[in-house]
């Protein structure tokens, strides 16, 4: 950022809650269905149809709120947000306004600026104030491409209309695009972690908007802010914010000024452009939704949801660092996904060697998962077998390269580690009496070297090890070979 300026950024995230059905009717929320097939009188906004709240929305909403450090309000109220748009068949969206489902949250995220190569170098905790998360219904989808005469017509698919959303709004606490980036990734991970949302930006079930303004450092007053939309990935969001910060600083410095408006990220041209200006700013005329009672959430319910919550990823990361001695980067990577974290912890405990287990998980295992498109809990390689592999390696029965080969084979076939080692003939000779026999032969056949060694030429020890390995076709356990040789010589 240009010297002397600071950016003020607030984030809004819409997360689709992971229910089977819509928020106010029983239509399925399944993705990719025939257009307008998952619809009924309620979500089509037909006259006389009445909304009934889906109980799972309350449960997932509560999980999301708790995962984000929000307080769940005992009473919240659904309100109508009135505006006209073709994807909103009722002419209003059922949302929450002055009494949201949850509010006043405090969340600690880890964040770091990035260098030119995009690498993070200095992770620091940062406290974010989350103002609220309210519950609302999604609108339908406007289609502008791939159908006849799109120069004249738009098309509407209402499958998405009525899908439950949690809208998460932060205070303007972010000062850089990377802070916003790390925040969105944090939210995405915890929502997936607690099962509140699939939080998949590609499928549109996590969408974010950024409010961005800039001011000279030292100035107290906020300048006009710009709302950024159409941020289809976290990376685009970061780029859009970065672009916008530079654009606004320039506009202030040139005296042109910044007007309060909504801008879109234009992916093709790598810039933001105006979507609508303040002149047609909305007047939503919120009022309480008369077809729904206030939502009352009991203390007992909140406690039961709390009790069902898993350990959150950041707590798990800190524990892995403490308990298993992992670095921040390694532990962060392992808690990137809940099933991976669980896999690692199970394997580390069973193997008794968390460091080596982490090495296998972070390199070979993650690579194979990525190649196969599987998650850790779907893999044919179980945490138990990985632990068996680590133990076999630690016992010296196979070497590191062989272990890697075995891992891939078990991953692909689901065989046990023991089976694969057997098939590949990797099994080392660890049986002392067999090794003793080989050593005896070698001592007998190499009298000169034996005499020299016994005379003090200790360098020759390597020669004997080599001979034993050769005689055993590389299968003798090196540790035992050493022990036997030392004893016999």
């Amino acid at each position: 950022m240009k010297e002397g300026w600071e950016a003020i950024i607030g984030m809004e995230i819409h997360a689709q809650l992971a229910t089977e059905t819509k928020i106010f009717c029983g239509c399925a929320t399944s993705f990719g269905e025939e257009p307008n097939s998952n619809t009924c009188p309620v979500c089509l906004g037909l006259p006389g149809a009445l909304p009934v709240l889906n109980e799972k929305v309350v449960e997932y909403g509560a999980k999301a709120a708790l995962a984000l450090g929000l307080n769940i309000n005992e009473t919240s109220i659904f309100s109508r947000k009135n505006y006209f748009y073709p994807d909103l068949p009722k002419g209003y969206q059922i949302s929450q306004y002055d009494k949201p489902f949850s509010s006043n949250g405090e969340l600690v995220i880890m964040t770091s600026e990035r260098d030119d190569s995009g690498r993070a170098h200095d992770w620091q905790p940062m406290k974010i104030h989350i103002e609220r998360m309210h519950l609302e219904e999604d609108a339908g989808k406007n289609v502008h491409e791939g159908l006849p005469e799109t120069d004249k017509y738009s098309y509407i698919d209402l499958n998405r209309a009525g899908t439950p959303l949690g809208e998460i709004v932060t205070a303007p606490d972010f000062r850089s695009s990377w802070q916003a980036y790390d925040y969105v990734n944090h939210v995405r991970r915890v929502l997936q972690w607690v099962g509140a949302s699939d939080a998949d930006m590609e499928k549109g079930n996590l969408r974010c908007e950024a409010n961005v303004s800039v001011r000279p450092i030292g100035q107290e007053k906020f300048n006009n802010k710009v709302e950024l939309k159409n941020l289809n990935s976290v990376r685009f969001m970061q780029k859009a914010i970065e672009f916008e910060i530079a654009r606004q600083i320039e506009a202030h410095e040139s005296g042109e000024g910044v007007s309060q408006e909504t801008r879109l990220w234009d992916e093709k041209n790598n810039r933001t452009r105006v979507m609508r200006s303040k002149e047609d700013a909305h007047d939503y005329r919120y009022f309480p939704e008369p077809d729904l009672q206030p939502l009352v959430v009991s203390h007992a319910f909140v406690e039961s949801v709390k009790a069902s919550m898993p350990e959150l990823p950041d707590a798990m990361r800190d524990r892995f660092m403490d308990e298993f001695g992992l670095s921040f980067d390694d532990a962060s990577q392992i808690i990137g996904e809940r099933s991976l974290a669980k896999f690692y912890e199970d394997a580390a405990r069973t193997s008794g060697n968390p460091r080596t287990t982490a090495n296998f998980v972070l390199s070979e295992f993650v690579r194979e998962l990525n190649n196969s498109g599987k998650s850790a809990d779907q893999a044919l390689l179980t945490s138990f077998e990985l632990a068996a592999l680590v133990k076999t390696l630690d016992a010296g029965a196979i070497n590191n390269n062989q272990a890697k080969e075995v891992l891939v084979e078990v991953f692909n076939t689901g065989k046990t580690v023991a089976e694969v080692i057997n098939e590949k003939g990797f099994e080392q000779i660890s049986d002392v009496s067999s090794i003793e026999k080989i050593v005896d032969d070698i001592i007998q056949n190499n009298e000169n070297q034996v005499t020299a060694y016994r005379g003090g030429n200790e360098k020759l020890f390597g020669f004997f090890v080599g001979q034993v390995m050769k005689a055993s076709q590389g299968k003798a356990n090196p540790k035992i070979v050493n022990e036997v040789l030392k004893a016999k010589l």
Binding site: T19, E20, T21, C25, G26, C27, A28, E34, P35, N36, S37, N38, T39, C40, P41, L44, V52, L53, N54, E55, K56, V57, V58, I77, N82, F84, Y85, P86, N142, V143, H144, L147, P148, T150, D151, K152, Y153, S154, Y155, I156, D157, L158, M275, D283, R285, P288, P290, D291, L292, Q293, P294, V296
Partner: protein, 93 residues
């Protein structure tokens, strides 16, 4: 009463003559409803929905179980214009 603004928000086109007619009418409706303000309701909880015969809130939730939807053909049956499974509307951005 800014009748033009109300009309704009409701996406209605009205003429100057209609503004002349509606302004006093709507003012009188609002004045009539304002009589309610004569009552002091500062101690009364706002009631936002219906009550049962026993006076309890008619709060209802439903389980997260899919019902049969209308399906595409039925959903589009009454649409003024439907093309390839979609509602067709004038171009919007």
């Amino acid at each position: 009463m800014d009748v033009r603004k109300v009309a704009h928000l409701a996406h209605l086109e009205i003429t100057d003559e209609e503004v002349e007619i509606y302004t006093p009418q709507m003012n009188s409706i609002v004045a009539y409803v304002e009589q309610l303000n004569e009552l002091d309701t500062s101690d009364v909880e706002p009631m936002l929905g219906g009550l049962t015969d026993e006076g309890a809130a008619t709060f209802a939730e439903r389980p997260d179980v899919p019902h049969d939807s209308l399906g595409q053909a039925n959903a589009l049956k009454e649409a003024p214009s439907a093309v390839e499974g979609h509602f067709q509307v004038p171009k919007v951005l």
